[in-house]
């Protein structure tokens, strides 16, 4: 039962005023600009764009500032904002094969055409705190070499020659859109990928890790991981042709997984796919592992009862905004709900006590 409760406005206003002050912190310390967040906290910005499901680095930087660095709160702000935007349309599917790669590695082929390009990676760092960063310092220019301007082919293309890896059936079927229709199960791979792409990094990481530890084991190699920018093209109805409406940075991961084959398919490798806004390597690898685990049914594998195989479980719980909304609402006033529970428990206790007293009297009488 809901009962309107009045009062608390002054306390709420004052709480928000204090929040603003705390957000600013010590005024002797220079205030953060959005450009500083966008340029120097770029992986946080990337995460907010990916899970907020809206590519706009300036907005993501604003959300991070407003949320005091609480990224789930920032993602919440972005999700709320995106619902106010009119939808102009759907882009053509981006061509990740045409990506200008900042990074492109393969754990399966050493001599992949295009090479192993490390890019600006944390890999091979010693994970020791760098106290030089605590002081202001000039950063030396990164070394350069003769640039390679041609497109870098996908590594799975080389395996396809032998048919030793499953082919992705080409299709232009209109995919479901979970921002337009509520999710229903079975969701299908397109909606699963949309949901995973905006899902919580921590949750997807945990699910992916569970598959590696043996829950729905499907040993995965990172066939390819690439990070870079791709142009986004959209058909403009009033022009009658497509134009590029901008450019987005993406991280793409393709896994190559063992597959024993089934009644209809000979042994071959299968694929898992991860694609995420921004530079989001951990998330894209995790997404590819979970995508692969969720494909058990179409590949004729056994349902091992693992959480990562359960589409409804994964998709219903991977959205951190739904999760936090439901979780955190229990801290808001439930005075009337609780009052009724309190009455009920008191009544039950009274009855139990009366019963006990009756029994005691009976025993004494006998």
């Amino acid at each position: 039962m809901y009962v309107a409760v009045k009062g608390g406005e002054r306390a709420i206003d004052n709480a928000h005023a204090w929040l603003a002050e705390e957000r600013r912190g010590d005024t002797n310390v220079a205030e953060l600009s959005l450009a500083q967040i966008r340029e120097q906290m770029s992986l946080a910005v990337n995460r907010v764009m990916a899970e907020g499901s809206l590519y706009d680095p300036d907005l993501a930087a604003l959300a991070i500032k407003q949320s005091r660095g609480d990224l789930i709160e920032a993602i919440f702000l972005i999700r709320a904002y995106r619902t106010t935007l009119p939808r102009f349309g759907y882009s053509a599917a981006v061509d990740t094969g045409a990506m200008t790669c900042d990074r492109r590695i393969s754990a399966t082929f050493k001599d992949a055409p295009g090479g192993q390009v490390l890019g600006p990676t944390f890999d091979y760092t010693h994970r020791l705190l760098d106290f030089k960063l605590a002081a202001d310092g000039e950063v030396p220019q990164a070394p350069i070499a003769e640039p390679r301007m041609e497109a870098t082919p996908h590594i799975t293309e080389f395996l396809q020659g032998e048919d030793i890896i499953e082919r992705e059936p080409a299709s232009d079927a209109t995919p479901g859109d979970l921002t337009r229709e509520p999710m229903s199960f079975p969701a299908g791979r397109a909606v699963r990928l949309q949901s995973l792409a905006r899902g919580d990094e921590g949750f997807i990481l945990g699910m992916a890790y569970s598959t590696q530890r043996g829950y729905a084991r499907n040993h995965a190699f990172v066939g390819e991981l690439r990070i870079g920018k791709v142009p986004v093209e959209m058909e403009i109805p009033e022009l009658g042709f497509a134009i590029e409406i901008g450019e987005v940075e993406l991280t793409e991961c393709e896994t190559v997984n063992q597959f024993k084959g089934s009644k209809t398919v000979p042994p071959q490798f299968t694929r898992g796919y991860g694609l995420v806004f921004g530079q989001s390597e951990r998330k894209s690898i995790a997404m590819a592992l979970v995508d692969r685990a969720l494909r058990w049914e179409e590949l004729g594998e056994d349902n091992l009862g693992a959480a990562a195989q359960d589409e409804e479980f994964v998709l219903s719980h991977c959205d951190n905004i739904q999760a936090t909304g439901f979780l955190e609402h229990i801290k808001l006033p439930h005075y009337v709900d609780f009052q009724s529970e309190l009455e009920l428990v008191r009544k039950l206790r009274r009855e139990a006590q009366e019963l006990a007293e009756q029994m005691a009297t009976q025993e004494a009488a006998e």
Partner: protein, 150 residues
């Protein structure tokens, strides 16, 4: 005065304007120093476009997430219509892009290309080149360790 415009040429400059840096576009536009009178057909409006990817990079499409886009349309005094769909939420950027699109269909096209489009193109190419050069420097050069036989 209108000239014949191919869809390919128009696509190229509209695509370039869509991803131009706002400050740079504004500065080049001011430098061009020719701000035409116009009427709005559709005043600037920010919205979202759902970006799609493909399963495995090549298979069936799926919806990845949205990006912000601002669009507008205007008509010059001579009736030429300019459209803009530009990345981000900047209305001034969309307005300049639509004016450039309209003027590129008139006889000032050559000057405008020189003053605005070419510098944008050059800057974009230089930025891509610079990143590609840094990426190239991080390419792994494998070598094989030769084991001694003694």
């Amino acid at each position: 005065m209108k000239t014949d415009i191919s869809a390919t040429a128009r696509k190229a400059w509209m695509s370039l304007l869509a991803q131009a840096d706002e400050a740079e576009l504004a500065s080049l536009w001011r430098g061009f120093d020719h701000d035409p009178a116009f009427d709005w057909l559709r005043p600037p409006e920010a919205g979202g476009v759902m970006v799609r990817g493909r399963m495995g990079g090549a298979g069936a499409p799926f919806n990845l997430g949205e990006m912000t886009v601002t669009r507008c349309a205007l008509t010059l005094a001579n009736g030429t219509v300019g459209h803009a769909y530009v990345q981000g939420r900047s209305k001034p950027k969309a307005e300049i892009a639509a004016k450039v699109d309209a003027l590129m269909q008139t006889d000032v096209a050559t000057d405008l290309r020189q003053a605005v489009l070419q510098p944008l193109q050059n800057r974009l190419a230089a930025q891509r080149q610079a990143r590609a050069a840094k990426a190239a420097a991080t390419k792994v050069e494998f070598f094989t360790m030769v084991r001694g036989e003694d």
